[in-house]
Symmetry: C2
Subunit: 369 residues, 2 copies
């Protein structure tokens, strides 16, 4: 996604299994919004994103492990930004800025074995420095990186996944997800990933899938005809794993579940970004509808022990068709689809992990893919 | 659903294709909440349902066709309730009541040929009288009834559908949906209904499916292990229609789309009801998470031209486990699943309709099911 940079920091081993991911906007920031739909959220600076409130743009968004403790990572990102004079100017001295750095956390405490091993301001600083060292629009590292290091979906190893698509209008919509849910990403009847039912994961494991329906069935106007082409090029229906493989996977998951402490909280986080020029209110609508992509990839979702949160960022380089009040619709549809794709990407990119804190088999490992 | 009664009124023919559905609570009302997530809603008395606000219980909820004009149907329901002294008491005289009747509308204007043929107070009164004439917990009429008479999903005929499930705890969760979306309920790759991917529709066409996963994979504690049984009894994966049937269906839908005026607005409405004793805030959480079931059955959804709204009602006869803060989770999961099931039920119950206002083939007709 042109203009945005993503950095990760964190640690696995020595009691650790956690980290922080930073999405760094271009200097001057991106229009930002958020929709918090989980019942157990941990967030920072989300009220500033209300469309009625002052701040229009943010320089960075932080996704972090460490539950509410990990929100301190945002402090390290603020310090890094302040040193560069980036943030909301609050006086005549250009160095007097307050960077508004919205943050949300996933629950991963104790998964590495040490309940106290969690991201702090130094982790945030390392992640933003990692982001700043990248080129604009670089390929984003996925899997067990940053806030995804300790992520688990049901009993299956989660992590970071990404996806992007370019709509017919030329607008890009991209998503980065940290998949870490109380519910499951796997259809227990078959072993298929729920998101694959919607065509996600065709670009398996690369973290850069071409998208669920790739901008086709949202783009044909308000009627949204069922007869539209959709993801016509992709497989008709995903082929389920052989029943004996699925049965073996269920056994391994049940063993892991018996060994692991059931986490009291989880949370899937996502950042959906577009180069479409959105107002804060439009960005908030995008953050909200992007949760639909989460609903399609994880079931059940948005529970009391999930803190599911989606941020939306608009870099604003491309205008929406101003004559068409429904021009936003294809961005909304793609936002949901990219979140589904990013979650499937995260699950397909993950490797199995075993720590003193638990056993977290990966989907690839379980299903030999 | 014990305690609740559902009535329908409306008309097809003579320029009409619209109506009103009323969910009538037991005398004294049900705890009520709402979550409006579509971008083009038409509602009445929804602010009263904010958990911070005064009114705790409502006597009835109205779902209506006729777009914002149809909201007048709630006036007829209010009059019927006032005559019976049902509502919020506002003075020493027991006859001095104000019934709070939340309402939401679907867009169906002109689908019967006459833009002015739409529900009014008399339609609302007829629908509530129909409800009152039923037994508590009666089988609800589905298909082209009430607010579903003019409903269309994509280019396919929609309508009213229902579903209910009894959880292991004995709690019942039920949903009634009016399926009328800008997006599609049909996977354009295969012709399968999206909701069927999640196991919905096994009780096809009866409007009383046994549920997506029927309370199984939400009930096994906070970890929500992927290895839980889920909908283990149902078919592994739905069998798609033969490719030539799907191709013919796509041709018919394209012909219908070319003939019909693309509707500027749509909207799927649902009422999710449970006998679990919920606070208003818990009911609002249920209304919110139930939108996940909409996301699984319709894609894209919650667009600017959808007014998607879910009401939640709690009749409050069964306590949630007070010692377990997560006891609500299985109700939340089931609420989403029942909405998916109800939408699939609506699509499978519908018959094709042709009026001077348009051609609306049904799923069964298109796919010979």
């Amino acid at each position: 996604m042109a203009g945005l940079r993503v950095g990760h920091a964190g640690r696995a081993g020595g009691g650790w299994l956690s980290g922080t991911t930073v999405v760094l906007a271009p200097e001057g920031g991106a229009v930002a919004a958020v929709d918090v739909r989980g019942g157990g959220p941990g967030t920072r600076e989300t009220d500033a994103l209300d469309p009625r409130n002052l701040v229009q743009r943010v320089e960075a968004v932080v996704l972090t492990g460490g539950s509410a403790y990990g929100l301190d990572a945002a402090g390290g990102v603020m310090a890094w930004l302040e040193e560069r004079g980036r943030g909301v100017r609050v006086g005549p001295d250009p160095a007097h800025v307050v960077p508004v750095v919205p943050a949300a956390c996933v629950f991963d405490l104790g998964r590495g074995g040490d309940f106290g091993a969690r991201p702090d301001a130094a982790t945030g600083r390392a992640a933003v420095a990692d982001a700043a060292a990248r080129e604009s629009g670089h390929a984003v590292d996925v899997g067990a990186v940053g806030a995804g290091i300790g992520a688990v979906v049901g009993q299956v190893k989660g992590g970071v996944g990404t996806a992007s698509t370019v709509l017919g209008s030329g607008i890009t919509v991209a998503a980065l997800a940290v998949a870490n849910a109380a519910g499951s990403g796997i259809d227990p009847r078959t072993g298929v990933l729920y998101g694959q039912l919607f065509g996600a994961g065709a670009g398996a494991g690369t973290g850069a899938g071409t998208g669920v329906g790739a901008g086709a069935d949202a783009g044909d106007g308000p009627a949204g005809a069922a007869g539209s082409a959709g993801a016509a090029g992709s497989a008709a229906l995903v082929t389920p794993p052989p029943p004996e493989v699925h049965a073996a996977a269920l056994r391994r998951l049940a063993e892991a579940a018996a060994r692991n402490v059931a986490p009291p909280l989880n949370t899937t986080l996502a950042v959906v970004a577009t180069d479409a020029a959105l107002t804060k209110a439009q960005a908030q609508k995008l953050a909200g509808t992007s949760h639909d992509g989460l609903a399609r990839a994880v079931r059940p979702v948005h529970l009391l022990n999930d803190g599911d949160t989606v941020f939306a960022l608009s870099t604003g380089t491309r205008s929406l068709a101003e004559t068409d009040p429904l021009a936003l619709n294809e961005v909304l549809a793609a936002g949901a689809d990219m979140v589904t794709e990013a979650i499937v990407g995260a699950l397909l990119a993950a490797d199995s992990v075993e720590t003193p804190g638990g056993t977290f088999p990966s989907y690839r490992d379980l299903y030999q893919q």
